[in-house]
């Protein structure tokens, strides 16, 4: 096709018909060819399509936010697809930001670390597997998501996570090797643990044995106690944040991203919501007074750790099928008793330690 042929002269009247789809196929083809070469008509067409503000608004509002939009109701009138997940994009943008490496086995370089793979992606960023060349040890590097790295609040939260976790030295709390907050992508370096999260384990294997529940539960409690002794409240205890190391019987609490110092006033003033809002079931909605939105304190965190163990209990002994509802119920005083009753079969001490 010869791109330089002027098939029609500049005719703004055609644009309106084109925009409302009233041109014939031949006329559309002609217009398209004309637009190939005519600067002036391109601009005129775009102005007629919508005012400049609308173009700008479309760009601003439709560009990805970096986190998933919630699922679209499939039965809704538009009947369109769910928004695709942004996580692959997020991982890609972190990998793109790595510096080149000479090692063909590696994906790239970050600070003094050679990155060998991606462990996972979450709300705040991407976790990479890497080798610390100077010490020859494998580490996990949590890199802040690029779209968050420009936000002061997000950087602060990232720094807080590092500070919080680093303040607690305990076998059941993730260690922090080092932190970098001044590069374009802030990151923190932690030991690499071969293993899985409690969440994945539950998804894969279902309820745990009583022995496992006791082993894991007591280690979570020990880790949290160490954090509380430092004046820190984790505020986001859930199975996904509990790591189970392969081979050794060790449980590690991770993700101090929401942790708060008990006396830290700044966070309560910044408008950040402290803690995980309770999940509401229809029954609860009918009995609104039962629902208490409580501030997070060490007791609430302990309740959450009990709730973590709830799905670990074999279904026959659970008082609720719905895991999230169960977590919520286990956090409220009344249902702690129900929870205790539901696992009456287990030793008193165990029920007591989970629900007390």
């Amino acid at each position: 096709m010869n791109l330089n042929v002027r098939t029609i002269s500049c005719d703004p009247d055609r644009f309106e018909s084109f925009l409302s789809g009233e041109l014939s196929d031949t006329e559309e083809r002609e217009l398209t060819l004309h637009l190939n070469t005519c600067e002036h008509c391109r601009r005129t067409l775009e102005q007629q399509a919508a005012e400049p503000g609308a173009w700008q608004e479309a760009e601003n509002l439709l560009k990805p936010l970096g986190f998933d939009s919630p699922a679209i109701d499939e039965n809704s009138d538009s009947g369109l697809l769910k928004y695709p997940t942004r996580q692959p994009l997020q991982i890609q943008s972190v990998l793109d930001a790595l510096r080149p490496t000479d090692d063909p086995e590696m994906l790239g370089r970050l600070g003094g670390y050679e990155v060998s793979g991606v462990v996972g992606a979450g709300g705040m960023g991407v976790v990479l597997k890497a080798v610390d060349k100077s010490l020859d040890r494998t580490v996990a590097i949590k890199v802040m998501a690029p779209h968050l790295a420009s936000s002061g609040a997000a950087r602060k939260r990232f720094a807080r996570e590092a500070k919080a976790a680093a303040a607690v030295l305990h076998p059941n709390v993730i260690a922090i090797h080092s932190v970098s907050n001044d590069e374009s992508l802030p990151y923190l370096v932690m030991p690499y643990m071969r293993g899985t999260s409690l969440q994945k384990r539950l998804d894969r294997e279902g309820p745990l044995s009583l022995l496992e529940i006791l082993r894991i539960g007591s280690q979570i409690a020990a880790g949290l106690a160490a954090a509380h002794a430092q004046g820190l409240v984790h505020r986001d205890i859930k199975p996904a944040n509990i790591l189970l190391e392969d081979g050794v019987e060790r449980v590690t609490i991770t993700d101090f991203g929401l942790a708060r110092a008990v006396d830290d006033a700044t966070i309560t003033h910044s408008g950040v919501i402290a803690g995980t809002p309770q999940y509401m079931s229809p029954e609860q909605a009918r009995l609104p007074n039962r629902l208490a939105v409580k501030p997070w304190n060490s007791a609430a965190t302990c309740s959450a750790s009990a709730a973590c163990c709830t799905p670990s209990v074999p279904a026959a002994h659970r008082f609720e099928q719905n895991r999230r509802t169960a977590s919520c119920d286990a956090s409220s005083t009344k249902s702690r008793l129900a929870f205790a009753n539901s696992i009456r079969i287990s030793p008193n001490g165990f029920a007591g330690s989970l629900t007390g």
């Binding site: 939009s69 809704s76 995980t276 609104p288 409580k294």
Partner: protein, 199 residues
Amino acid sequence: MTEFPETRESLLLQIKSPANREAWDQFALIYQPVIYRLARHRGLQDADAQDLAQQVLMAVASAIGSWEKTNESVRFRHWLRRVARNAIINVLSRRPRDRGAGGSSVQELLMEQPLPDSESDAQIELEYRREIYLRAARIVRGDIEPDTWRAFEITVIENRSIDEAAVELNKLIGTIYAARSRIMRRLRETVQELEKAES
């Protein structure tokens, strides 16, 4: 990701008028992602943001039954939006250390008179507007060829050059200009229709 069957099934029984029921459906569909994003912007994780959206919608829904008895003169949609705004601002500005443990109920989300908060108002308005655009985009996208949409996506949403789009899609530059202008027009028209339906 979780949707909200609970809201639909149990709470909607409380809404007597079918027109109001439909209005609620539309409202929940739009406000769920709005609240979700507001919460994500403030640093909440996915599950927490969903819970929060659920919490606000439940609070609003639980008040509908009593509203129908007393306020028939106020337009339902307007009432919903006002109540939701108050609930969102209350829940987002909730300062946990101000409260005694276990004292506050979901009803307080509605009862508390929020402080004037122009920043939150602007954020709610922005996210509402974003939701309208996202819905419009899904509608427009559903009726056209994937490549035509891609031309718009690359050059407008991703803000890349016309040339790049032409190369990526193996199309003439003129085709890219034509496609993105026509989609922009349809998008703008659809946004206006949705706004009208919600006002």
